[in-house]
Symmetry: C2
Subunit: 232 residues, 2 copies
């Protein structure tokens, strides 16, 4: 891997606290690759040979069964994905494909496990990261089981708004069809859900969202830190 990529990766929580020696050892065995859009990186069920780090671009994680498919998450720079499979040396539970042109670091899973065993700081970081991931999925599960699709959309928009520092206007980060699948609905239903939020001051123009009155939307959406991840 080119040393110019080291700082980005080092900046991740996962890698900040570990020793230089171990970090460099990890990096030496790793490599970085540029992928065009729509490239399959991983198929669910594959053995987990590498821990992946998205440096630029974005990657969609999805799963399928019996001819159906659903979007599970979108990974943006700089973060890792499929840490759990790497740790457990178990097959990936999700497929991954690039959404846009992306630069991705691949760290051999075996190296991750080796360094984990000798670097307590790295071990602690992994635990924190895994606990974080776990809690995120639990939240997402609650979102799915406790809310209607309209409520999920409303809360999604509020979370996005917070990401953009509470701006009244912002751009959707995802294609609508992907967003629909992520929220557990069809594109048609998402279209109608946007309409359904008009009474609460939500305006949509392509990917451009305007939230007239945040409080109004919040009264409907009833966001809570026990479901909605404001940190990400």
């Amino acid at each position: 891997m080119p040393e110019s990529d080291y700082p980005d990766i080092r900046g991740l929580h996962l890698f900040t606290e570990m020793s230089d020696e171990h970090f460099n050892a990890l990096m030496r065995g790793s490599y970085v690759q540029n992928f065009p859009p729509q490239i399959d990186l991983i198929a669910e069920g594959d053995p987990s040979d590498f821990l992946h780090v998205v440096l630029t671009g974005s990657v969609e994680l999805s799963s399928s069964w019996n001819g159906r498919e659903t979007s599970m998450a979108t990974v943006r720079p700089v973060s890792t994905f499929i840490l759990a499979a790497t740790i457990k040396d178990a097959p990936y539970l999700m497929s991954a494909k690039t959404v846009e042109k992306s630069r991705i670091a691949l760290i051999p899973s075996q190296d991750v496990r080796n360094v984990f065993d000798v670097d307590p700081n790295f071990a602690r970081a992994i635990v924190t990261e895994l606990a974080q991931c776990y809690r995120s999925v639990v939240k997402s599960q609650k979102d799915l089981k406790l809310r209607t699709s309209l409520e999920r959309l409303a809360n999604y928009l509020l979370r996005q708004q917070i990401k953009f520092d509470g701006a009244a206007e912002f751009e959707l980060q995802l294609e609508k069809r992907r967003l629909a699948s992520f929220l557990g609905m069809t594109p048609e239903n998402l279209s109608r859900a946007f309409k359904g939020l008009q009474p609460y001051g939500v305006k949509v123009n392509g990917n451009h969202i305007t939230i007239k009155d945040q409080d109004d939307l919040m009264r409907f959406a009833k966001p809570t830190p026990l479901i909605d991840d404001y940190s990400i």
Copy 2:
């Protein structure tokens, strides 16, 4: 904590590999309590003061929002729950209440974090456990998003059957209303779903399930290790 309870806890993956010294240190600060059925142990949002270990009985984890409630999991002996909250020192995301009379060990979260920092074997065990938990929720999420309620029930029954060593007849471990909520449906719908599985050889009598022809049910349920956890 009475020393007679040590072996059960020590037998958990989480605690097998750690040093005696650290294990005893953890146990000294812990205590064990007997609870009657239907006792609230934890409310979601509470600070995570203790790692809980179910020694006997069973505990239901649930979440609620805006007047709705859903069952997230049922914990049976001997296992821990809310490890992630303990590790992150963050509020619980789920509530916990005893289903039956239960004996539960409470290990102060601070102690868990302290020992984690000094015992590499314990640290590794925690990572493995968390990765396992994470993957379980991801599977459960896929189950919810990719399958109809009938398919979820069919696969649930097959997983239960495997737990009972493939026996053609077994007892449901959960009350039906709890099972319904766990599977993300109403009790009425569960009732009808059982009927809907009759053509595939599923017979229900109270909590007693009979699966006439496993292959028949499997052809409908299409179980896969990428969604269905055969290990638990």
